[in-house]
């Protein structure tokens, strides 16, 4: 096990698109253990993506269980995650390990259907909404080379009621 160092914006590598995981090898499993250790070393953080530590494969972790008022699926290791359906929109404040000392408002889908593999290679499907869905969308963005900075809603627009209303499906 080892703590991995976090890439920090404006590191160009954060813009790289990650490749799908082809095989759940021992190397991947050992990387996942290191990624979890790194993730756990940031209390208050609810997710991490492999490219944030310089590994450009489609692996993310999400755990919002320490925010008990939000419905959640516990600690999730998501391999080759894919959002197959999304609905509604919600505005919330986000920050990122890769963007220190800055937070901003970001619009995300309110509810998502998520498909992924777990560490055993089993196919999983989740229905998520709210905070957990936001965390998953933020982490999957990392796999596509995107940061929440790419999705910021300006302060004044962020105050407009228009954004708070769900978009039609």
């Amino acid at each position: 096990m080892a703590l991995l160092s976090i890439l920090v914006y404006p590191d160009e590598k954060l813009k790289r698109v990650s490749l799908p995981v082809k095989e759940l090898s021992e190397d991947i499993n050992s990387f996942i253990a290191d990624l979890e250790e790194t993730f756990r070393s940031f209390p208050g953080c609810v997710g991490i993506a492999a490219p944030q530590v310089g590994r450009f494969e489609r692996i993310v972790m999400v755990d919002i269980s320490h925010k008990p008022k939000h419905v959640n699926h516990g600690f999730l290791v998501l391999i080759n995650p894919e959002i197959t359906f999304c609905e509604g929109s919600s505005l919330g404040r986000e920050g990122c390990l890769s963007v220190p000392d800055y937070t901003g408002k970001v619009e995300r889908a309110k509810s998502i259907t998520l498909k992924a593999l777990n560490q055993m290679g089993e196919k999983l499907e989740f229905q998520m909404s709210g905070y957990e869905a936001r965390a998953v969308q933020h982490e999957i963005d990392h796999l596509d080379g995107k940061l929440f900075l790419d999705r910021l809603v300006s302060r004044r627009n962020a105050l407009s009621k228009r954004i708070e209303t769900p978009a039609s499906p």
């Binding site: 609810v46 404040r93 986000e94 990122c96 937070t103 302060r155 105050l159």
Partner: protein, 174 residues
């Protein structure tokens, strides 16, 4: 020791104000920090932190020429400041209703007593000239907890016939 100045500027809005002012500061090796620039009632306003090696008098003289040309008023203050001093808000407050004299004073007074530290406030008057509508949004830190803020807003709404609500901000860090 960094030499930070706060530039306060206001004048009739026209295109090019931001470009001309920021270019002048850049020409003096000024490094801009955090800024708030917005149009208020047909005027353009700037509050801007700038870290600059030139003396305050030199900056004053340079800006005076540009502001005279553009018809702007400005003011410079030497400030003790720095970057990376953000405070995260934990609550967002919204107040709206028919415009009425004193609503900002009453709202901010009850919120102050409820322990709120205001980090950002934006208010607007919309609607029509005959029936203006007042809208205010605040982000801040609830120093005495959300319940105190919520109770204060309920009382404010009741006593002033406005809609007032709060939402906790739970910043998602991923």
């Amino acid at each position: 020791m960094e030499n930070w100045l706060m530039l306060t500027l206001v004048g009739k809005d026209r295109p090019g104000i931001v470009a001309k002012i920021s270019h002048a500061l850049f020409d003096m090796q000024g490094n801009l920090g955090e800024a708030s620039m917005t149009r208020l009632g047909g005027n353009f306003t700037i509050m801007l932190m700038v870290c600059i090696p030139e003396s305050q008098t030199a900056v004053q003289n340079k800006l005076q020429q540009i502001c005279d040309e553009l018809g702007l008023f400005f003011h410079l203050d030497a400030i003790e400041a720095g970057l990376h001093r953000h405070i995260e808000p934990d609550v967002r407050i919204s107040v709206h209703g028919a415009d009425q004299a004193g609503i900002v004073a009453r709202a901010t007074d009850v919120l102050n007593k409820a322990g709120l530290n205001i980090l950002n406030l934006e208010s607007d008057v919309g609607g029509s000239s005959e029936s203006p509508v007042y809208v205010m949004h605040i982000e801040g830190v609830a120093g005495k907890g959300f319940d105190a803020v919520d109770k204060a807003l309920q009382a404010l709404a009741r006593e002033n016939d406005v809609t007032a609500s709060m939402t906790p901000i739970d910043t998602m860090v991923g």
